[in-house]
């Protein structure tokens, strides 16, 4: 049992969870800024305890013993941490929960409790066992990293509190759930399944890569380190193990270092490691001059030390089903294509909305684990209860070819005068033909105009558009349909029903 301090930041928990589930949008300004703020916050905490661990879900963990003695007790330490973490370096107040308890699992639960009560929660060693007993079984999955299927089954067995699970006994749990059962029993009986003071790291797996030319971009560094990561993870997998905690060290030409311990109870994949490196770098490589700790030179070295590996038996996704042979093949060949350089590969991600061009966005495939079938399905199904059909959306069927940059067209009436849309959403005169790129097509039928008003409440960002479908006579044979949009009195060709 290691007395542990856990600090949770809900703001970043959701963010990192989104990334892990493949729901991320990489490359946006917001993403980098978010990770940079988190990195700054973690660096503040290292002022209290030098070696902290960042768990996969925006949670910071470290051993309580040293800092607690230094500050004069757990209560004082908790209050101090709460104050230190209250305000982010950019001056905004950050919601946080500080929990200290006799085991890591209990401290995580205490931190959640602290979050809802808005003051730190300290559970003494004597009360830790009682505290765990009272926790609901679902906490094993949410806070303890136990597989959802196991937690679900425990729930269906009628076990609601951790106390009842503990009463089953270690033997019965191992019998039924194998390695996971042993972890469950460890959690509910207050033993740590993840040790904060790790033994000597398995140095065999450590890998590093040096660059002759210092690298200055986040993307470039991640790309350059990718093959090293893949080789290392393949070596670990070759020993039938998987890495659950990993130290990532980045060094610059001027001997500045960024060290971070990353943890993921479900085990890292090569893509996960690259995503963590991406996060660590985007927090550190700041060029706005505001951060005194920002590096002053390019990156020449990236090192990875797998601090903790465990037997990859039960939690290996392969055995829980879902991975297929051609998924692995596809992922490999995408990696090969990306290695050529100058290539962007995207996977569709459902965004919703009424604009056919932006209903689907493309997430960067190099930062998505293609073989994670669950994440892939979540990516393409509606998120957060967004309705599949939006009011004001284009009627089914949708256009098959969308212009990336809609070209200007002219919609004219029988006299050759421009047709526009009135304030009552009507054509000024019936359209007779449309001029597209030098050719003039006869309009046979028109549908619309359908008005679209976006952000009508915001005078600066509001947009008024009108869309219309026109049936035109094809110059070669038959008929074709075009989707036009009018904005600020000019028509453009949004899409073709190709």
């Amino acid at each position: 049992m290691t007395r542990s301090v856990v600090i949770v930041f809900p703001e970043w928990v959701d963010h990192v969870a989104d990334r892990a589930a493949g729901r991320e949008r990489i490359d946006t300004v917001g993403d980098t800024a978010t990770m940079r703020r988190f990195e700054a916050m973690v660096r503040t905490i290292t002022g209290v305890s030098p070696l902290v661990e960042v768990e996969g879900s925006g949670t910071v963990v470290f051993a309580a013993r040293g800092p607690s003695r230094y500050f004069g007790g757990d209560e004082v330490l908790a209050r101090h941490l709460d104050e230190v973490c209250a305000v982010a370096p950019d001056g905004l107040v950050v919601p946080r929960g500080v929990g200290i308890a006799g085991s890591r699992f209990a401290a995580t639960a205490a931190a959640r409790l602290a979050l809802s009560r808005a003051r730190p929660c300290v559970v003494s060693d004597e009360l830790t066992a009682e505290f765990i007993d009272a926790l609901p079984v679902a906490a094993l999955g949410d806070l303890g990293g136990i597989d959802g299927e196991v937690v679900d089954l425990l729930g269906r067995l009628g076990l609601s509190r951790c106390a009842t699970v503990r009463d089953l006994g270690e033997r019965a749990l191992i019998d039924r759930f194998g390695e996971q059962g042993r972890r469950v029993h460890g959690l509910v009986s207050g033993r740590d399944v993840v040790h904060l003071a790790p033994g000597p790291p398995p140095h065999d797996f450590a890998a590093s890569v040096s660059f002759d030319v210092p690298l200055v971009s986040v993307h470039g560094t991640v790309g350059a380190a990718r093959s090293t990561v893949e080789t290392m993870m393949a070596r670990i997998a070759g020993f039938g193990q998987q890495c659950v905690r990993l130290m990532v060290t980045v060094g610059t030409d001027h001997d500045e270092h960024s060290e971070r311990l990353w943890g993921d109870p479900r085990g890292f994949s090569a893509v996960d490691v690259c995503a963590r490196l991406h996060a660590q770098l985007s927090g550190w490589l700041v060029d706005d001059g505001a951060d005194p700790d920002a590096p002053t030179a390019g990156i020449v070295r990236v090192g990875f030390v797998p601090v903790e590996c465990r037997e990859a038996l039960v939690v290996q996704p392969l055995l829980w089903g879902g991975r297929q042979e051609n998924v692995e093949r596809a992922a490999r060949s995408v990696a090969m294509a990306l290695a050529v350089g100058g290539v962007r590969v995207g996977v569709p991600k459902w965004e919703g909305g009424r604009d056919v061009a932006t209903v689907w966005s493309l997430a960067d495939a190099s930062l998505v684990d293609l073989s994670d079938v669950g994440a892939a399905e979540r990516r393409v199904t509606e998120g957060d209860g967004a309705p599949r059909a939006w009011t004001g959306a284009i009627p089914v069927p949708a256009p098959a070819a969308i212009a990336p940059v809609p070209p200007q067209v002219r919609l004219v009436d029988a006299d050759g005068a421009d047709v526009s849309v009135t304030g009552r959403h009507d054509f000024t005169t019936p359209p007779a033909s449309v001029e597209v790129g030098g050719s003039c097509l006869d309009v046979l039928c028109v549908a619309g105009p359908w008005p679209v008003e976006e952000r009508w409440w915001d005078p600066r960002r509001r947009r008024r558009q009108a869309r219309a479908q026109v049936l035109v006579r094809n110059p070669v044979a038959g008929t074709g349909v075009l989707l036009l949009v009018a904005e600020n009195g000019a028509w453009s060709l949004l899409a073709r029903y190709d």
């Binding site: 949708a398 256009p399 008929t479 190709d498």
Partner: protein, 221 residues
């Protein structure tokens, strides 16, 4: 005998391929040259083997090319095949979904102007079951190499528009299209034709592309 015992002893793991299954698959591919990727029953009549033959290169020419592409690959992607579109920024993904393409097995690649187009497509052809591209940018020698890699890995390569340096085995084209327009565009009746070296001339079929639900549908006689 001994083999049978081994089979009983080892539980089958969902989603993995045993060495025996792999050997069988490779042997089938070597003996028949390919294997067939299933297509929608409306289009199956266009192909001598009832579907897209693995390792072959298909072309799509003329109008309705994007709709035809989605309709061709939709069934295969739902059966587990991966589909990559290379350099097709015009692709309407809403329409792709309506045609029934499994969006979680779709990849959209964009190759930069000064990047090695042939190497990128070659790498994709190695592992993706269906690769479609528009306006190929490669030399005839490169295109022959890509075609050889497609044959080796059993990938169906589809070239939309001008074939560039590729030797197309069969070309699909929409020869007539007529829209039903009723308050808005509802459906389109097309005639799809297939031509190629080994294909009997005049193979054609009528279809709704799309039908009122945005899918491929039959035309009632």
């Amino acid at each position: 005998m001994g083999q049978a015992r081994v089979h009983r002893g080892l539980p089958r793991i969902e989603g993995t391929e045993t060495a025996a299954a792999l050997a069988e698959r490779l042997a089938t591919r070597a003996s028949t040259g390919a294997g067939v990727v299933p297509v929608h029953e409306v289009l199956a009549g266009l192909f001598p083997s009832g579907g897209l033959e693995r390792g072959q290169i298909y072309g799509i020419r003329g109008g309705a090319s994007m709709s035809l592409l989605y309709a061709l690959v939709a069934d295969a992607t739902r059966d587990g095949a991966w589909f990559a579109m290379v350099d097709m920024p015009r692709a309407g993904l809403v329409a792709a979904e309506q045609y029934g393409v499994a969006m979680h097995r779709l990849l959209c690649a964009g190759v930069g102007e000064d990047s090695a187009w042939g190497s990128v497509v070659g790498a994709l052809v190695d592992g993706i079951d269906l690769v479609a591209t528009a306006s190929p940018r490669c030399t005839p020698a490169e295109s022959r190499r890509i075609a050889a890699r497609a044959r080796a890995s059993g990938t169906v390569l589809i070239v939309v528009g001008a074939p560039g340096g590729f030797e197309i085995d069969a070309t699909l084209s929409v020869v007539a299209q007529r829209w039903q327009f009723d308050a808005h565009a509802v459906s389109r009746e097309v005639t799809v034709q297939c031509s190629g070296r080994r294909i009997h001339p005049g193979r054609s079929t009528a279809a709704h592309l799309p039908d009122p639900h945005g899918r491929l549908g039959p035309v009632p006689p």
